[in-house]
């Protein structure tokens, strides 16, 4: 392990959690992320190998799946994000690349994103992004825009969400989430 101490997406030494009424917003940094993009003509191979590695069927457009130590969501045509606990896999590319071989291009994305885990009624999203709550059901991953920032909204369960934005604007995203929480709480 390196003898350097990381900081959190918001720049602190510990993770921040805010609770406003029934809504909670928790900064989180415990996922290692890697993008998986199938190479030309190797979609089936990618799916097979990913299943073998993670036990998951990589989902179709807008999908999010989870099981065991793995999560996977659709990012773009024939491209997904894989997530696994950082504690188990500090170097996720080293873990994924051998399994996928030449079937897919793998890129480390762990620190590209800042993540906030949110407990809130789905109506919370009304003040943040133009997605139809009827379509953002549990098991969906939606790339959209919040307050001029590109984000991914993962809906895990009825009131369980994660919002991921680019790490450099973690502070602005956090501020937007808090402001919306105060407005609807």
């Amino acid at each position: 392990m390196p003898d350097l101490t990381p900081i959190t997406p918001l720049g602190g030494s510990s993770l921040r959690t805010d609770t406003i009424g029934a809504i909670s917003i928790a900064e989180a940094d415990d996922w290692a992320l890697a993008s998986v993009a199938a190479r030309a003509g190797q979609l089936e191979d990618t799916l097979t190998r990913a299943r073998k590695l993670t036990g998951l069927d990589l989902p179709g457009p807008g999908g999010l799946v989870a099981g065991g130590d793995w999560r996977a969501w659709w990012m773009a045509p024939e491209a997904w994000m894989l997530a696994t606990p950082l504690s188990a896999s500090e170097d996720i590319v080293a873990a994924v690349k051998p399994a996928l071989g030449d079937a897919a291009s793998i890129t480390e994305q762990t620190d590209a994103w800042a993540r906030f885990d949110i407990t809130a009624p789905v109506g919370f999203l009304e003040r943040l992004c133009n997605v139809d709550p009827a379509r953002v059901t549990p098991g969906t991953a939606t790339r959209t825009v919040m307050e001029h920032m590109g984000v991914v909204v993962l809906r895990h369960g009825d009131q369980a969400f994660s919002v991921l934005g680019v790490r450099s604007s973690a502070g602005s995203l956090h501020h937007a989430l808090l402001t919306a929480a105060r407005a609807v709480a």
């Binding site: 392990m1 990381p6 190479r39 030309a40 620190d111 590209a112 139809d132 001029h148 790490r167 602005s172």
Partner: protein
């Protein structure tokens, strides 16, 4: 009847709300508007008109009000031009009248009214032309001071605004009988319904009329319907919400006034919310607006629309006066007489322009069929009206209030927002919605010209049922209450001929005479008429004035109204606060802020930051005792030249490019060759737009046969990524290439200076040889540092010194910076910011955004030969166009001030010695300039005509804006180490 307050109404008499108007205290009740409360307190004079400063009272009871505009609240929350007719009364409300001096009752600018003959429509186009300079100096300042209505406070708006997004199957706009009926039908069928109404109490005209629906009063039925809708999970009720516009593809803008009825918004809550509603189907049930009849002096306080009078009497329990007359051309207006009489208000006369009009039989009221009101009198309010009977007899009638009804116009506004045109209906004498409605929209109730209550309920239900059917749902059977279904007789009457001024547009003071003048001067199309007279341009957007004016123009031209046409209604339906359109994006939250991984470290060290696009970057790191920014920057620059410096360069875009065809792909998007770049090497790349001009530049490293990492300039990270995806998906979909941005994933730190290798060797893990031989200039490698941390090391140099950039996972950037500072203390390690970075690269002659401004070519930069003609890369073909390859074209050169004490500013233009400062002598311009602490002289980069051939000559850098005129020597842009020995050391 004591005072003006009547029995009944939908106000809460158990509570009293004190409020102030122009400093005087009054009181009202919850449920009142400011207008109803003022009327209840006997206040008729509420405002002044725009041009003539005529005294004005309330004309309407809704959002179409042209007259009763006040400034609501005070201080930073002052809200000018607020319609008293829709301002919900709250405890402590404070309102002030506008556009008058010194007081509302005595307004000195009322002199304009006496000057009216000189101020006819468009008079200003014909005068104020002499002398020419007097327009800005004399005439216009006077006009500007006099113009405008209310005043903004000038302070920052202290309230918050929010935005949101809603989705539904059916959006119902307007909660009158048609809208409620529609919402009940769709809501009971389980559809996702949004019912929006601008009023704070849903029910529309049901609240204003005395009709019965079944066994109930209309208002009771409405309340019951609203209660049922509120109980349905699939229905969202949005009172106080104005749908302002119909946009493409079923998107509607709506403004919800969540806190305007409160003294101040609750903590953390917005004042208003802008909703973007996306809906599959829309029902416009926006009702209708009554129109006045123009007659001489028809603008006195006390003269209002007959339907408004009913609303004040029935809903707010306010009598419009003690002695009320009515002037109507239709049956509907007669209902006012009946309702007022039923409430015990004395109705003195009913002047009905229809000769055949039936006598409604109001006790004590004179009934005058075929008669006209031809004038009014009274100071600051109505005292008497003058009537001319069918027989031509003229006499006065005492009246302190006159209700006028010229018929009703369906509120078709939203049907026109996508440039649909309403059509004229002769039977109704009104425009009704045309066939080309916005997609998914239907219209019901009075908005569709269905004026009876039964008709509204029925058409609302039927339209909702059709929408449900479209959506694949079946509608429940209707359960409509019994309601009046009386046909309305109307005989069009737009204006009463006569001598005096008869107002059409009350706020802008446009009279029938003005329309006649527009016609006389050939401003006859509707658009010309409006623009010439300013009719319909006031805050009421012509809701009560457009049609009468149009009808008069039709009369004058001898055309029908249908032939004359109408103007198109545009969003917003009613005026919308700018605050809510901006939402949260204001102040520091205007745009997101991007922070580098070492931001907090730099902040703790006292760095000064600068915006670079959305990023904040450390500009320089002042030390105690340094008194000027340049002292700091000079120190940082010299430290890099002499020792080692550290700079966070994370903001440069990073794009991960993988795939079997990655090399081929990179070779096509860069103008210079990349196909043969070896693994473990980095190359500088020139990226052209397809038009052959420079798009971006950067270094691209080959980490593996099938893996490249491209860097872009900070500003172009997004556009370049988009460009690459375009090339990948649209131009060469057969190439095996995958792209993803990794800009944020890696913290990247430039380690620059002769001691940089020594410093890096102290953190690089054993086993990675970064000696000059093993890791030469333009090498790259994936290594580990600090005991196993994955890192990427690039030996590239922006400063011209021996230099590296090292990248680690972003979360470790802060710690790496600290570690490098600690390990390099004895080497003189110095953090440097963008300012020193800029000096270093100018000294080295590297181009950046100042040079790569989208207007330059590779040739301009002296890199024309890098554009390969051996391959088909983007932009190569058009870069060869003649105009971009002129012999006398621009070249990037260095400039060095002859006098080291002189100043050299970027943006200065270059002139020959002795040449006049005129465009014909313009030789080019300075792109970047700085003080070079290394050379101890002001230096610059510049684009100079035929510059490459002029080395050693002297020209002038002239800044005409500051008066600087500096003699400069033309030199190579590579001020230091032109052979590149340092960076290979």
């Amino acid at each position: 009847m004591s005072g003006y307050r009547l029995q009944g109404g939908q106000i809460d008499r158990t509570r009293t709300l004190p409020f102030r108007f122009d400093g005087r205290s009054h009181s009202g009740h919850p449920g009142d508007t400011l207008a109803s409360a003022l009327l209840a307190n006997g206040v008729r004079l509420m405002g002044r008109s725009f041009k003539y400063h005529r005294p004005r009272g309330v004309l309407t009871a809704g959002s179409e009000e042209p007259n009763a505009l006040v400034t609501l609240r005070s201080g930073a929350r002052a809200e000018p031009n607020t319609r008293a007719t829709v301002a919900e009364l709250f405890d402590g409300l404070e309102a002030t009248s506008q556009n008058r001096w010194p007081s509302l009752a005595f307004d000195a600018m009322g002199v304009n009214d006496w000057l009216a003959p000189f101020l006819s429509a468009g008079f200003y186009y014909k005068t104020f032309m002499w002398p020419a300079a007097f327009w800005e100096r004399v005439y216009e300042p006077i006009i500007r001071r006099a113009a405008g209505l209310g005043a903004l406070s000038g302070q920052d708006d202290p309230d918050d605004y929010d935005k949101g997004f809603l989705h539904c199957d059916l959006l119902v706009i307007g909660a009158g009988p048609a809208g409620l009926s529609a919402a009940l039908t769709a809501g009971r069928a389980g559809a996702r319904v949004i019912l929006a109404d601008e009023d704070f109490r849903m029910g529309g005209r049901l609240n204003a009329e005395s009709f019965a629906l079944g066994e109930m009063r209309g208002a009771e039925w409405a309340a019951q319907a609203v209660a049922e809708l509120a109980s349905l999970d699939n229905v969202r009720l949005m009172p106080r919400t104005t749908v302002i516009g119909a946009f493409d593809h079923g998107v509607y803008g709506a403004v919800e006034r969540v806190a305007d009825h409160l003294p101040i918004p609750p903590e953390g809550k917005p004042r208003q919310i802008l909703w973007r509603i996306t809906t599959a189907r829309t029902l416009l049930c926006a009702g209708a607006t009554e129109r006045p009849v123009a007659f001489a002096d028809n603008d006195r306080p006390g003269i209002m629309l007959a339907g408004a009078m009913r609303a004040y009497a029935n809903r707010w329990a306010v009598a419009p006066g003690k002695r009320v007359a009515l002037f109507v051309n239709n049956d509907d207006g007669l209902r006012t007489a009946q309702d007022l009489a039923a409430q015990g208000v004395r109705v003195s006369a009913i002047i009905d322009s229809r000769p055949y009009a039936p006598d409604p039989g109001i006790p004590g009221a004179r009934h005058l069929p075929g008669a006209l009101v031809i004038g009014s009198a009274g100071r600051l309010g109505l005292d008497t009206i003058t009537v001319r009977t069918a027989q031509g007899r003229e006499f006065r009638i005492d009246a302190d209030a006159l209700g006028v009804s010229g018929g009703w116009n369906p509120n078709v506004h939203l049907t026109c927002h996508q440039r649909g045109r309403p059509v004229w209906d002769d039977a109704l004498a009104a425009f009704v919605p045309g066939a080309d409605l916005p997609g998914g929209m239907a219209v019901a109730g009075a908005a569709a010209g269905v004026f009876s209550t039964h008709g509204a309920l029925q058409s609302g239900h039927a339209a909702a049922a059709r929408a449900l059917e479209d959506l694949g749902r079946s509608a429940p059977a209707p359960t409509l209450p019994q309601a009046e279904d009386t046909p309305i007789d109307l005989r069009p009457l737009w204006h009463v001929p006569g001598k005096g001024r008869a107002w059409l547009d009350f706020q802008n003071d446009v009279t029938v005479k003005d329309i006649k003048l527009a016609h006389q001067e050939n401003f006859r199309s509707v658009e010309h008429m409006k623009r010439y007279t300013t009719l319909g341009m006031a805050t009421d957007q012509g809701k009560t004035s457009n049609l009468p004016a149009l009808a008069i123009m039709a009369e004058l031209t001898g055309k029908t109204i249908a032939e004359t046409g109408t103007t198109i209604f545009r969003p917003p339906y009613t005026p919308v606060s700018l605050g809510v359109l901006a939402g949260r994006a204001r102040g520091k939250d205007f745009k997101p802020t991007r922070l580098t991984p070492t931001h907090h470290w730099a902040k703790a060290r006292g760095a000064v930051f600068v915006e670079a696009g959305l990023w904040l970057r450390a500009q320089y790191f002042p030390r105690p005792g340094e008194t000027h920014w340049r002292e700091t920057v000079d120190r940082e620059v010299l430290a890099v030249r002499a020792a080692v410096g550290l700079c966070d360069v994370t903001t440069l875009g990073k794009i991960d490019i993988q795939g079997r065809d990655a090399a081929e792909f990179v070779n096509r998007v860069y103008a210079n060759g990349f196909a043969k770049l070896a693994v473990g090497r980095v190359r500088y790349g020139l990226m052209l737009r397809e038009d052959g001009f420079l798009m971006d530049d950067g270094t691209t490293a080959r980490l593996a046969e099938d893996h490249f990492v491209m860097t872009t300039t900070t500003a172009n990270a997004g556009p370049v990524y988009r460009h690459l995806e375009f090339a990948r998906q649209c131009l060469w979909p057969g190439l095996d290439v995958q792209l993803i941005s990794t800009t944020d994933a890696w913290a990247q730190i430039a380690v620059a200076g002769p001691r940089s290798r020594t410093l890096l060797q102290r953190v690089v893990d054993p086993g990675h040889d970064i000696s000059n031989a093993a890791f030469p200039f333009m090498a790259c490698a994936e290594i580990t540092i600090c005991g196993g941390l994955r890192a990427r090391l690039f030996r590239i140099s922006f400063s011209g010194e021996l230099a590296y950039e090292i990248a680690v996972p972003a979360r470790y950037g802060h710690a790496l910076m600290e570690r490098l500072m600690e390990k390099g203390a004895d080497l003189g390690v110095t953090p440097y910011g963008t300012e020193a970075l800029g000096v270093l690269r100018i000294e080295k002659g590297h181009a950046t955004a100042n040079e790569l401004n989208g207007q330059t070519t590779a040739r301009d930069l002296g890199m024309g030969r890098m554009v390969s003609d051996k391959k088909d890369s983007i932009g190569a073909v058009l870069s060869r166009r003649e105009g971009m390859n002129r012999e006398d074209g621009l070249h990037l050169v260095g400039l060095r001030a002859l006098n080291t004490g002189s100043r050299l500013a970027a943006g200065s233009h270059l002139l020959e010695r002795g040449a006049d400062a005129v465009a014909a002598n313009d030789l080019g311009w300075v792109t970047s300039a700085c003080w070079s602490p290394h050379l101890e002289a002001p230096i610059a980069l510049a684009f100079l005509k035929s510059g490459a051939a002029r080395m050693g000559e002297t020209v002038r850098a002239v800044n005409l804006l500051s008066g600087q005129d500096t003699a400069v020597e033309i030199v190579s842009p590579h001020f230091i180490d032109p052979e590149g020995e340092r960076l290979r050391a």
